[in-house]
């Protein structure tokens, strides 16, 4: 049986005058209904590009999909016509962006923006669409929703604005919801509320949720599975529990070690040395090798393949087993 959404060996380049940057280098992953996949990585790792590639909202140019497939319900959406792809947006796959203030159009009321898709895509009349917008706003727990229908984005607080974004994404009952760093711009208490809201909605609506984040702490409570990205590749995939317990990739391990933890009080935090690679000049061999604490000569020459290191677990490290076993 095919997955609800599946990426197969996706390659994306950014072609600019300065040269070609290989931003995605063979990304493969999948998500199913009712499941939350977290895509984790530092900025420039390709996680947002992955999300945009799925949505089909990459800026082309400069972005070019070099190869690979994105299967939605078994169909390759990259092979579809632009019109057919557009039909999928919102109704099948929807997205919540990271900075709601800039992602919402400043000159239209939130009611108008939430109801826009309903009017345009479903031909609802204005009144009915606004009614539905109120329901959606209530669903994402915006207090006094009806009274705020005519307000503009800048009149909302950050958390409320993000709820508006979510309401807007939910308008057409998507089966997949991609949330791209939905809480980055928010303060910590609000972050948790938004995460809880997303988890709750996923549960209620039976959607697949792809959560894109750089924050391991955020995903722990929400995600079912995690895909860790580095330099345009998924370097490790695992379910959350296993990954936290026994990471199978040195980068993941370093990330985990850099989180302050109550149970390891007193120990100095570990910091990952070096900088993420320049995507125009990805080092040969394993792209992580210049920063890797357990790097070996072969890491400089051979690109490690993704190998299964357990049930539902993949790692793209030459020494995956050793990392997993804690022997490296």
């Amino acid at each position: 049986m095919s997955h609800l959404l599946e990426l197969q060996d996706l390659h994306v380049d950014f072609r600019t005058r300065e040269g070609v940057a290989q931003v995605l280098n063979g990304v493969s992953c999948h998500v199913d209904a009712g499941e939350t996949l977290a895509i984790l990585g530092e900025s420039g790792s390709g996680k947002s590009v992955t999300a945009q590639a799925i949505m089909g909202i990459l800026d082309m140019p400069p972005a070019v999909v070099r190869s690979g497939r994105i299967l939605y319900q078994g169909q390759d959406i990259l092979a579809m016509s632009e019109n057919a792809r557009r039909e999928l947006r919102g109704t099948q796959i929807a997205m919540v962006f990271q900075d709601a203030l800039s992602a919402l159009n400043p000159v239209f009321t939130v009611g108008w923006q939430i109801s826009e898709a309903l009017r345009v895509r479903q031909g609802m009349d204005r009144g009915a669409a606004l009614e539905r917008a109120v329901e959606l706003m209530e669903r994402v727990k915006i207090p006094a929703a009806r009274a705020r229908l005519q307000d503009y984005p800048h009149q909302f607080s950050g958390g409320m604005r993000q709820r508006v974004m979510i309401a807007m994404a939910l308008a057409l009952h998507p089966k997949v919801l991609i949330a791209d760093e939905p809480t980055t711009a928010l303060d910590v208490t609000v972050q948790a509320q938004i995460m809880d809201l997303l988890a709750e909605l996923k549960q209620q609506l039976g959607m697949a949720l792809i959560l894109i984040t750089h924050d391991l702490g955020v995903v722990a409570s929400v995600a079912d599975r995690i895909a860790v990205m580095y330099a345009g590749r998924i370097v490790e995939q695992s379910d959350v529990y296993e990954l936290y317990r026994r990471p199978a990739y040195p980068y993941t391990r370093a990330l985990l070690e850099s989180i302050p933890r109550l149970d390891r009080g007193g120990e100095p935090l570990k910091v990952i040395r070096g900088l993420p690679p320049n995507l125009q000049r990805i080092p040969p061999g394993c792209p992580f090798h210049p920063r890797c604490p357990i790097e070996q000569p072969r890491c400089r020459e051979l690109l490690p393949p993704e190998v299964a290191v357990g049930p539902q677990r993949l790692s793209a490290c030459h020494r995956a087993q050793e990392v997993l076993n804690g022997t490296a």
Binding site: Q52, M55, I57, D59, R86, E87, L88, R89, G90, T91, A94, M95, F97, D99, S102, A103, L104, N105, P106, V107, F108, T109, E116, A117, V120, R121, Y152, H154, Q155, M165, M168, A169, A171, L172
Partner: protein
């Protein structure tokens, strides 16, 4: 909003009175001998001079002359221009022509400037974008007098598409060529501004949001991008109307439109204080009203201003 409007209107009135005073004072200070200016190269005989001096209060101090003028303005009696005609008649004939010219020029600038700018913004770096950039530079670098004369020679005299001069029997069509000339600079600037604004807005996050809603590109551009891109353009073009009115002077001269420009020119030449001040006051008034309208429109277009 009402309080804001009242405040603005009061400001306008003060500006208006102050401006008329300054213009009147300027006219008064440059006027050496309006009667001789009126007579041109011919000498003026003493009895005629005595009569006209008394009629126009020319021998009285500045503040009294200004007083007479303002009294006339308030009571709706503009008085006579030095050339003898009722200023009210001159205004009633000339203003509608200049207004029509200015508004058509503005319309041309708006329609072509915005549509051209949107097109160029959507296809940045394309042939149209490059050509329009080059032409814009030419337009900005060429005095309007030269553009007017060239357009007149080429499109009216050589090609015969238009009349070289004002022809009231053609109705509104007679303003088209002069309005193109007059509006060209605003058009060029407006087009570049729209292009930049559109290009910038196309890259903005909300466009991405809109396309993730599954909207067509056409709708995204026409509704989301255009509405945002127009904010700076409207502000610019709105304030241009005042500028176009004063720029009409040269265009009217070339195309012989009997509008306010020619009257103003004549008034300055004849040192005709009341005429010049009346024209300039009305120009100021138009300027004030259009800036008020632009500010209100700005608030309508950009809710952040409204609630800020």
């Amino acid at each position: 909003m009402t309080a804001y409007l009242i405040r603005r209107l009061l400001q306008m009135m003060l500006t208006f009175v102050g401006a008329t005073f300054i213009v009147y004072a300027l006219m008064f200070s440059i006027a050496s001998d309006p009667l001789q200016a009126l007579a041109g190269d011919k000498p003026l005989n003493p009895s005629q001079r005595a009569q006209l001096t008394a009629q126009y209060h020319l021998d009285e101090p500045f503040i009294k002359q200004y007083g007479y003028y303002m009294k006339g303005l308030v009571t709706g009696k503009f008085g006579r221009a030095i050339s003898g005609r009722q200023i009210a008649d001159v205004m009633a004939e000339a203003w509608p022509r200049t207004l029509q010219l200015g508004l058509i020029a503005l319309l041309i600038a708006i329609v072509l400037g915005i549509s051209g700018g949107v097109y160029a913004g959507l296809r940045r770096g394309g042939a149209f974008d490059q050509t329009s950039l080059a032409l814009t530079l030419v337009v900005i670098g060429t005095p309007i007098f030269v553009i007017g004369t060239v357009f007149q020679s080429v499109f009216a005299v050589e090609l015969g598409w238009f009349r070289p001069s004002y022809a009231p029997e053609l109705g509104i069509a007679t303003y088209i060529l002069p309005a193109i000339v007059l509006g060209l600079l605003s058009l060029a600037t407006g087009m570049r501004l729209t292009r930049t604004s559109v290009a910038e807005n196309l890259r903005s996050d909300y466009v991405r949001t809109a396309s993730s809603k599954g909207l067509t590109r056409r709708r995204i551009v026409a509704v989301h991008v255009l509405r945002n891109s127009l904010i700076p353009v409207v502000t610019f073009l709105g304030t241009e109307l005042g500028g176009l009115m004063s720029g009409a002077m040269v265009t009217e001269g070339i195309f012989n439109i009997p509008g306010i420009g020619g009257r103003l020119f004549q008034g300055i030449r004849l040192e005709d204080g009341p005429l010049v001040v009346t024209i300039v006051s009305l120009l100021i008034l138009i300027y004030l009203v259009t800036s008020l309208l632009v500010d209100l429109l700005y608030a309508v277009l950009d809710p952040r201003i409204r609630h800020g």
